[in-house]
């Protein structure tokens, strides 16, 4: 049966490197299309109207491959969009590694649209709606460092050393990103 490779794409979405799979699906689509072109000519000029069900079969397979591919790529975009909200505007390199150039470009466009929108809110200063995703209870929070991160600038040029297992009392808005990225842990008292 056709479209097996396309189903693998859809099933293995959690696997981030799928360039090979995509290429194979496109190759199958090309082969199906060419076979159909040739059969259509034969049906028309060679009087082989009995080929019509076959042509339809291949056409259905083409549409199915198209659907699987588009749905797969669209789902990746939905995840990339979610990254802007969960990761911030600078993606960790581990993630960027798994994105295609076109997806990176899409991410940058999305970032820009979002930034333009946020600047238009709240008067002159704009409003960062990607902050405070959970209702804040205080300006400063207690955090514990889960991984070595290095120097982290706080306010007025002072900085703290984020070493694994160190604990700090820091402004909430500065820590939000690092907590979401799993570098810090928000400690409730």
């Amino acid at each position: 049966m056709f479209c097996e490779r396309a189903m693998e794409l859809v099933r293995e979405l959690h696997r981030v490197d799928q360039e090979d799979g995509l290429r194979q699906v496109l190759e199958e689509m090309k082969a199906l299309y060419e076979q159909n072109q040739s059969d259509v000519n034969e049906a028309k000029s060679g009087g082989r109207s009995d080929l019509i069900p076959t042509i339809k079969f291949r056409h259905c397979s083409l549409l199915r491959n198209q659907r699987c591919t588009v749905a797969y790529l669209y789902d990746r975009l939905l995840r990339i969009r979610a990254l802007r909200w969960e990761c911030g505007s600078v993606l960790p390199s581990a993630l960027r590694f798994h994105m295609s150039a076109e997806e990176m470009e899409w991410f940058n466009h999305y970032k820009k649209s979002l930034a333009t929108y946020m600047r238009s809110l709240g008067g002159d200063e704009g409003l960062d709606i990607t902050q405070d995703m959970k209702p804040p209870k205080s300006l400063y929070i207690e955090v514990r460092c889960l991984k070595d991160y290095g120097e982290f600038e706080v306010d007025d040029g002072t900085s703290v050393l984020l070493k694994k297992n160190s604990q700090h009392f820091l402004p909430r808005w500065k820590c939000e990103q690092l907590i979401r990225q799993g570098i810090l842990e928000h400690v409730l008292s």
Binding site: F57, A82, E176, I179, L188
Partner: protein, 216 residues
């Protein structure tokens, strides 16, 4: 998954699948029994044991009984049944419908499906004379099972739920999960943790995978 990722929902319970829904794509991959009403040349390689051979231009003969995926059956079907006619899978036929009406809760719908409701709803496209009975059966089966799913999803907190969901079809599992999320969110709020910033699942999953996929 995570707070900001919203997958495309299934449309299978309605009149049409959602083109971009991964759930619907998986559902429509499931097979059903069909009968070819006309020979199909040059496709014999897919069903070698039935192929008519070189004299028929390698055709799948007319009258062949095959199992085709739903997407293909839908694509080739028309109300004049010129290319193929479709048979109902056993679990949607009268025998099983009687079992469901006796006690819907005993059946393992995951084994029968796993997209029992979605696939059953899309089956209605094939204009079977039993369509009314099938749709009634789907509805009543769900009504019979819903209460137990809702109750168990609201009472299983912080425990292994695999036994509870083992015999649920995919749609029911989604429902169970939604119930669990509601329960967990409420408990989190009650404990005063609703304002705690948490790590993003999305980020953690992808950064963990850094180089392991390359080695696959």
């Amino acid at each position: 998954m995570s707070e900001a990722y919203f997958r495309v929902e299934s449309g299978a319970l309605g009149p049409e699948e959602n083109f971009l829904s991964l759930d619907d794509i998986l559902m429509s991959h499931e097979k059903l029994p069909v009968r070819t009403e006309i020979p199909m040349p040059r496709l014999g390689t897919f069903f070698l044991d039935r192929s008519g051979g070189a004299e028929t231009d390698n055709a799948i003969p007319q009258g062949s009984k095959l199992e085709l995926p739903l997407w293909l059956a839908k694509g080739l079907f028309d109300n004049k049944r010129r290319i193929l006619s479709v048979e109902l899978p056993k679990i949607y036929q009268e025998g099983w419908r009687t079992v469901f009406s006796a006690d819907a809760n005993v059946v393992d719908l995951h084994k029968m499906g796993p997209h029992f409701y979605g696939f059953g709803s899309q089956l209605l496209h094939f204009d079977s004379p039993e369509n009314t009975d099938i749709s009634q059966s789907l509805l009543q089966t769900f009504v019979g099972r819903f209460r137990r799913i809702m109750d168990s999803s609201q009472n299983a907190y912080n425990e292994d739920t695999s036994a509870l969901v083992a015999r649920l079809d995919e749609m029911e599992r989604g429902l169970f999960q939604t119930g669990q999320k509601g329960l967990n969110d409420f408990q989190c709020w009650e404990k005063g943790q609703a304002s705690q910033i948490t790590a993003s699942n999305l980020v953690q999953n992808y950064t963990k995978r850094k180089f392991t996929d390359m080695e696959d």
